[in-house]
């Protein structure tokens, strides 16, 4: 399965030895890590003697999986994003070595430091945090986003992200319409929401580096604080409100709807952490706009996943059921549009 084969350890030892200038490298353990539907992640424990990185090291090996998704970054690009963001003070894993030579392990991969904590969304949402713990946790989430958003275009390390869009909102609307057309399924409710998003697109938008999947489930938590931000394959230039909207979308509260920031804490505390980190105040209606966008985006993804079942590419009950989740996102988007238009949205 995956990369685990008898001479993998030797190949890795040689690779790490060469990159770190070590005298000797010994791999103790390689085990798959949970999650990672699109990439494959492995925990790698090794000991390095000599060279620039000596000691007992706990690392993560991240490689391409067999089924790649078009819209995501390559491992090399992800490596560059992580390296760039690490300098901002965000809790990103420190990336070490990138290998684009597919002869080693069959696929491109990179190694990074393993961070402590859990990213298990259901477990985190069900933890009986105290009010003070919730406040601290979501403030730190806000603070993390603030660090990430400090990276602005143009950036010499991130040229592969392309030209920043003039209007991120309209760029998203156009992209989701393209996705819908490619699916060949008419979805009037999604079209209604996309038209609303088009008509109500902001006149001008800030453009920064966005994570584009910043939510409970992609954030490591240890000791009640954010210890790591994971899964950077969708990162790109966009409106910072996109990340805020995604984080607060109802879909990503895992049932704990009263805690609007990712099912973990109050929106106001999350905003406070962000505002303090960036020295700006958040446009709450702007976030609501991007929560509508979040519902549309997730609905489109769900339709794409169910299409894999419908087109007979993958016989999977899980994919089939994902197709029947779309009305949930449709309800979210229509209710939110109605509240925004009526001026009753929670700010």
């Amino acid at each position: 399965m995956g990369l685990i084969e008898p001479d993998i350890e030797t190949a890795l030892e040689d690779f790490v030895g060469a990159r770190s200038g070590a005298d000797a490298v010994l791999v103790h353990r390689i085990e798959p890590l949970p999650g990672g539907a699109i990439q494959e992640n492995y925990a790698v424990d090794l000991t390095i003697q000599g060279g620039s990185f000596a000691g007992s090291r706990e690392l993560v090996l991240r490689s391409d999986a067999r089924s790649a998704v078009g819209a995501s970054l390559s491992r090399a690009q992800e490596f560059a994003v992580l390296r760039r963001v690490h300098g901002t003070g965000a809790a990103t894993p420190r990336v070490l070595w990138l290998c684009e030579d597919t002869s080693l392990l069959g696929r491109a991969f990179y190694l990074m430091e393993r961070l402590p904590g859990t990213a298990n969304a259901r477990a985190l949402v069900r933890t009986p945090w105290t009010d003070a713990q919730r406040r601290a946790l979501v403030e730190s989430l806000g603070g993390q986003l603030a660090c990430i958003h400090s990276v602005r275009p143009p950036d010499p390390e991130l040229t592969f992200l392309g030209e920043p869009p003039g209007s991120p909102a309209l760029a998203r609307v156009a992209r989701y319409r393209e996705y819908l057309d490619a699916l060949g399924q008419a979805r009037p409710v999604l079209e209604w929401a996309l038209r609303w998003l088009e008509v109500h697109a902001p006149d001008s938008e800030e453009v920064v580096l966005c994570h584009c999947d910043f939510r409970t489930g992609n954030v490591l938590v240890s000791g009640g604080q954010v210890s790591g931000v994971l899964d950077w394959e969708f990162a790109g230039w966009s409106d910072p409100l996109e990340d805020l909207g995604w984080m607060c979308a109802r879909s990503w509260r895992f049932g704990a709807w009263c805690f609007e920031a990712g099912g973990l804490g109050h929106r106001s505390d999350f905003y406070h952490g962000y505002e303090r980190g960036r020295g700006v105040s958040i446009d709450a209606l702007g976030v609501a706009y991007w929560e509508v966008m979040a519902a549309v985006r997730w609905a489109v993804i769900a339709l794409q996943q169910s299409q894999r079942f419908l087109s007979r590419k993958e016989e999977s009950l899980e994919l089939a059921l994902t197709g029947r989740m779309v009305p949930e996102m449709e309800l979210d988007m229509l209710e939110l549009i109605e509240a925004i238009d009526a001026g009753t949205v929670n700010v």
Binding site: E318, L321, R324, M325, E328
Partner: protein, 136 residues
């Protein structure tokens, strides 16, 4: 006209028969069985809703006279295209129909979600029920 028990009844009893097996299953199969139970519940609700679709006529009325001749299958495509083009901007009646249609479909795929959403906004009243089919 047709034999009993019908699809909905069969699915329901079959699901009830499977449910106790959850306790006996090794944990790696529990998730699969839970998904099976969920799929059967959705299918049963779909079957109960039947094929009567009075809401289609209401949709034609909300959209305007050009829609009266479009047949059912093409209606969705036409509606989606017209909405995207802005032809239905400000069509409140259509907006209400769309919301009612979402609620109808959600009643079948995840009624608990609908209860939660209605509970989350106590001042909100459910939209008028255009279904009129009375199937439950």
């Amino acid at each position: 006209m047709f034999d009993r028990p019908d699809a909905a009844q069969l699915l329901t009893i079959a699901r009830e028969t499977l449910k106790p097996l959850l306790d006996d299953l090794p944990s790696e199969h529990r998730y699969s069985l839970l998904m099976v139970l969920n799929a059967m519940a959705i299918a049963a609700r779909d079957a109960r809703a039947g094929s009567a679709r009075p809401e289609v006529q209401q949709l034609r009325e909300a959209c305007g006279p050009e829609y009266s001749e479009i047949d059912c299958d093409a209606l969705s495509d036409r509606l989606a295209a017209d909405i995207r083009a802005g032809a239905h901007d400000g069509n409140t009646r259509l907006g209400q129909w769309l919301l009612a249609d979402v609620r109808r479909r959600l009643e079948r795929s995840n009624p608990q979600y609908l209860r939660m959403a209605d509970g989350a906004s106590p001042t909100k009243k459910p939209s008028p029920d255009f279904s009129g089919d009375g199937f439950r």
